[in-house]
């Protein structure tokens, strides 16, 4: 009987030991950052040998939920400042967040725009099937703000959980028009077309990034008074303790550097 428990315990311990190699930087990034962050990670690994950047992409609220429940991550890149503020409040950020990119909205339509969508005003047309991201997703909140500014009453047939889910419905032809980020349609250029949103109604999405400290799941960690500048290397217990050798700060700095910014620009993200 004891043998049984011993082997069960051993199995449980082993299951927890899929431990990553010593130098990894785990980055939680908003779904809309998928393409540029894959490029950023590859470029960073090239200039900093021996470091493995692990990327996890999801809708920003999903990432905040995972962080709140104690997910192990070293860097958080959010699609908006509201969600970043929640992570800051929980005490998981190791340094103040910094805006590293901006984005704008566009209307995604079927390739070649067969339904002749000209702008936001068309989204009120009764013959168009329009969908938005849910109001809990940054892209959905921005889209509703843009529609409100333009005074357009559009009806969303489905509150999609992420920009990528919305784009795939436009691509499949189930949705005639959906409001997404300019960068999303740029990435999916081969399968959807973009219709510009006039600048007086458009919204500027600001993407902040921050290094994180270890989470303990559930209860928020009390904020440490006088959180250091990004330069202050966190090698102590309370600081950034995953990426030894300052890899975490180095990744954040790389995203903000001229080289990182050039990569973001190549994916049509705007300057901070």
């Amino acid at each position: 009987m004891h043998d049984l428990f011993t082997s069960l315990a051993a199995a449980l311990v082993l299951a927890g030991c899929g431990a990553p190699p010593a130098r990894t930087v785990t980055v939680f990034a908003a779904a809309s950052l998928t393409a540029p962050f894959e490029a950023l990670a590859a470029a960073f690994e090239a200039v900093r040998p021996g470091v493995d950047v692990r990327l996890s992409f999801a809708g920003t609220p999903q990432l905040v939920l995972q962080l709140r429940e104690g997910a192990a991550a070293d860097v958080f890149a959010s699609a908006d400042e509201i969600h970043m503020a929640r992570v800051v409040e929980s005490g998981r950020t190791a340094a103040p967040p910094r805006v590293f990119a901006t984005n704008r909205l566009a209307i995604a339509v079927a390739l070649g725009n067969p339904r002749g969508v000209q702008g936001l005003a068309d989204l009120a047309r009764a013959d168009l099937v329009v969908a938005l991201c849910g109001p809990e997703v940054p892209a959905g909140r921005y889209a509703r703000a843009a529609l409100e500014r333009a005074g357009v009453a559009a009806r969303s047939v489905s509150d999609e959980p992420s920009v990528s889910a919305l784009i795939s419905k436009v691509r499949l032809g189930e949705v005639d028009a959906g409001i997404v980020y300019v960068t999303d349609v740029a990435t999916a250029r081969a399968s959807v077309s973009a219709v510009e949103i006039q600048s007086d109604a458009n919204v500027v999405a600001r993407y902040p990034i921050a290094p994180l400290r270890a989470g303990q799941g559930g209860s928020p960690i009390p904020a440490e008074p006088g959180a250091a500048e990004p330069g202050g290397r966190g090698s102590d217990e309370q600081g950034v303790d995953h990426g030894a050798d300052g890899d975490t700060e180095a990744f954040v700095a790389f995203v903000l550097s001229a080289e990182g910014q050039a990569i973001l620009r190549s994916f049509e993200f705007g300057a901070p």
């Binding site: 009987m1 049984l4 069960l8 809708g59 609220p61 999903q62 905040v64 939920l65 709140r68 099937v129 969908a131 849910g134 809990e136 969303s156 047939v157 489905s158 509150d159 999609e160 959980p161 889910a165 419905k169 499949l172 032809g173 189930e174 559930g218």
Partner: protein, 266 residues
Amino acid sequence: MSRSSRASNAAQALAVLAVVTSTLFFALPLLGLLWRAPWARLGAELRTPEVRMALTLSLQCSFAAAALSCALGLPLAAWLARGAGPLRSLVRVLVTLPMVLPPVVGGVALLLAYGRNGLVGRVLESAFGVSLPFTTAGVVLAATYVALPFFVLTVEGGLRSFDRRFADAAATLGASPWRVFRTVTLPMIAPSLYAGLVVAWARALGEFGATITFAGNLAGATRTLPLAVYVALETRPDAAIALSLVLVALSAVLLYALRRRWFPLR
């Protein structure tokens, strides 16, 4: 060591293993949910129009899917149980597929078949003006797609273990095939029919992936309880836990009510 004490040791080990497994996999996740539940605000969290809409929609769609599974699944199961052969094997694989596929893949497949530009959906739209995605009918279709296999396989099992000699006897006494089925076969396979309905209903109630992919997510029209949990989890986790408790309670009440059929209690 005597043979009987070895046997009792084995029985003991089996019992320990059973308890450990059911604790790790079934009891602890449930306890986690109860532990984090916002008990003080539970009433307030549940008395919102969103919760009422999601609950109503979930009940309507899951019962509709169970009824549809029964109506469509009974003939299918009856035919499958009547013999073997390559055609039946092929159909059985087709029926089993939705149980194995990730529901999201099922949802995409449904879109490609019944979507506006789908194989059949295109015809439905142009000939009848019927469009299933983003409608409550679409939710029922997605739920039936995932629930039907459970009904068919359960009832087919019941029909296969049914002793055909009873039906043959009734037939030799002059009963028509329909009358034999209604008065002899059906009552004798009632337990598996019942079980099939319960699993189909339960699967339909919990359906998420195919629904959000095929039917979308709109409050009052296609946002069922599981979708409401998913949406709330990201913004109002307390509401999500409260909604999850509703789902747990709903399933527990039904399974308890049907325990005689479902659990072989002595």
